[in-house]
């Protein structure tokens, strides 16, 4: 008997092979991300300018509405910087969500014509949003320089919170992209989710204004932990982190990510047939 076949295709497929394939197809992953970035900056006339203008405008509007008009506290930090420090992870999350939820459908042609681990499609979308994130980060430094605001060593912990933001974005993206293939009306849910999320997450204000007894519940929103973490890392002690809440947020994020991964893997088999 010749048992030296490299590949066995059976109903059910092998999970071990999948992770190996994921590594094998890393180059395709980079190419797809590269394509999306390239296309984005080629298509839009203002290109990079757009990813600069949007967070800046939002920052100005929020500073006026929440800071100047509503007079919410900012603990001595310039209100625009407080808003911007939260805008940074929020924009990343929101962009990832909207991009990745449509990513499989936008690449339907690819899914039905070639094999690759489908995971790299939503992952690519998150990576593209990450590029925007870094552009925004540079702007943050610009804004901080403008206000002559100096960050301290805590800034070095930012990558940890970025990883948390990444897991939250990717986890939610996995759920939404897979659901979107099966239930196509999910595409109407996502913009609403993003819009709504902006108001219930502490972007325009500090999470400290949430009453004590609702605190833990509030932290069930994964972005609350991430945003608070960002504020703390960038702005320091003016925004102390509520550690139990953060831990809860992180656990919930991890759970969402793992659940998303499992759900995606499960649905992945039928993508090419259903899409």
């Amino acid at each position: 008997m010749s048992d030296d076949f490299d590949l066995i295709i059976e109903p059910g497929g092998g999970i071990r092979r999948y992770w190996r394939d994921l590594w094998k197809y890393r180059e395709l992953f980079f190419f797809l991300a590269w394509r999306d970035i390239l296309v984005r900056y080629k298509q839009t006339v203002i290109g990079i300018a757009w990813s600069v203008i949007r967070p800046l405008l939002t920052m100005i509007v929020f500073s006026i509405v929440f800071g100047a008009l509503a007079g919410l506290p900012s603990n001595g930090v310039p209100y625009p910087i407080m808003v911007y420090a939260a805008m940074l992870p929020w924009q990343f999350f929101a962009n990832s969500l909207s991009e990745s939820s449509n990513s499989l459908i936008d690449n339907a042609n690819l899914l039905t014509k070639v094999y690759f681990p489908r995971l790299i499609v939503p992952a690519g979308s998150v990576i593209v949003s990450l590029v925007d994130f870094f552009i925004s980060l540079v702007i943050l430094f610009g804004v901080m320089a403008w206000y002559r605001y100096l960050p301290d060593v805590r800034m070095l912990l930012l990558p940890f919170f970025l990883v948390l933001a990444f897991l939250a974005s990717f986890g939610a993206g996995l759920w939404l992209s897979a659901l979107n293939v099966k239930y196509r009306d999910f595409r109407y849910v996502v913009p609403f989710l993003v819009q709504f999320g902006l108001y219930i997450s502490p972007v325009g204000f500090s999470s400290a204004i949430v009453p004590e007894k609702w605190r833990m519940l509030y932290f069930l929103n994964p972005m609350v932990g991430v945003i608070d973490g960002f504020r703390w890392a960038i702005l320091g002690d003016a925004f102390p982190v509520y550690w139990p809440g953060l831990a809860l947020s992180a656990c919930f994020t991890l759970l969402m990510f793992i659940g998303g991964l499992l759900y995606f893997r499960n649905m992945e088999r039928s993508f090419a047939d259903v899409i």
């Binding site: 010749s2 590949l7 109903p11 042609n109 070639v114 094999y115 690759f116 196509r184």
Partner: protein, 430 residues
Amino acid sequence: MSSVIRVENLGKKYNLRHQQREQYTAMRDVITDGFKSFARKLIHPFQFSTESGPSSEDFWALKDVTFDVKQGDRIGIIGRNGAGKSTLLKILSRITEPTTGRVRIKGRVASLLEVGTGFHPELTGRENIFLNGAILGMGRAEIRNKFDEIVDFAEIEKFLDTPVKRYSSGMYVRLAFAVAAHLEPEILIVDEVLAVGDSQFQKKCLGKMEDVSTREGRTVLFVSHNFSAINTLCTRSILLSNGTISSYGNSIDITNEYICGLSSKQIGQNGKFDLTNRVNLYNKGVPIILSVTVCDHNGYPSDTLVMGKSAKIQFELQEIENINNLDFGIGFYTPEGFRITSATTWSSETVTRTNSNNSLKVTYQFDMIPFTAGKIMMSPSVSNSKHGIVYDHPEMSCYFNVVEETLFTEKKKISRTYGVIYIDGQWQLH
């Protein structure tokens, strides 16, 4: 030689939805359906849910497909639309999972189910070469090594840095194909991609594929509706029908079988013409010729005959007295009604006939079909030529189609534009 692909009892089941306009489910429907059945349960708590009629139906696109491919084989896959060819290739290239069975593969597989998969119109030719190469499974270094060769093959040097949305469709296909042609897998899976592009470029691609596969012993699975391409490239072929393999063998035989089967099925006549329901212009209106059957060179009833091959035309007659004095004939016409020639018993030396209880059969045997490809109409006749009496003569009542055998070899091409009759002779230059 060892097997590189072994397919066992492969099956693929699809769910065909009848009610919904689209394949996907709408969450909205799931929710409303849920509410409906919930409401129904509230109203009739003890009634078992009578599942609503089949809104979806299982459909086996492939069933019990088993075959083996040896290293270096070039296999053609043919079959009618919806026979399951693309489904088979999709399973082999892991795009979709089988429902039953198993496939074992040895070696690196590249599949080409479409030219230019993943091409992005906004990107330049150069960028698309890299992108498409990566999508087809080439590494970055590999693409870089072959880059010049690809550009040469596509003949688009001047437009390398133009977005492909500005390309003519021909240029687009060339570029896409050039990338694909430089794939170097051990097993290449190709679906109907040759249908695009101009014929010269198609030849070039086919040549390249053949060249590489013979020189390097590459295994190729090739789906096409173009039989000359199948016969040029593939040594063996699989004929799929309704998701099962109906035959597997020598390409020429399989394509032949397919053409005959296909045309008879499509016309529904199968080379049999029932002539009972008509008014005979002679013999007081009673038909004497009951039916005419056309049989191809294999002896099977078929209305498709191969140019240069033998064929038989058989009539079935109503019994009449004075059988010894009857004459039979067939007039052959172009569809426009021009009489090409006739075959008659009074001009022929041998007459074959078989008596069966109530009817009588007359067969005319062609040694070689002398007509070029196209439709030939026939007027069978029964008469007594000595006395000039006609008993039955249904004009242009049956026909057959001639196909060129050269369709398969591509060596010579004689079509109707050259004439109706095919003559065989030699040219000599002095």
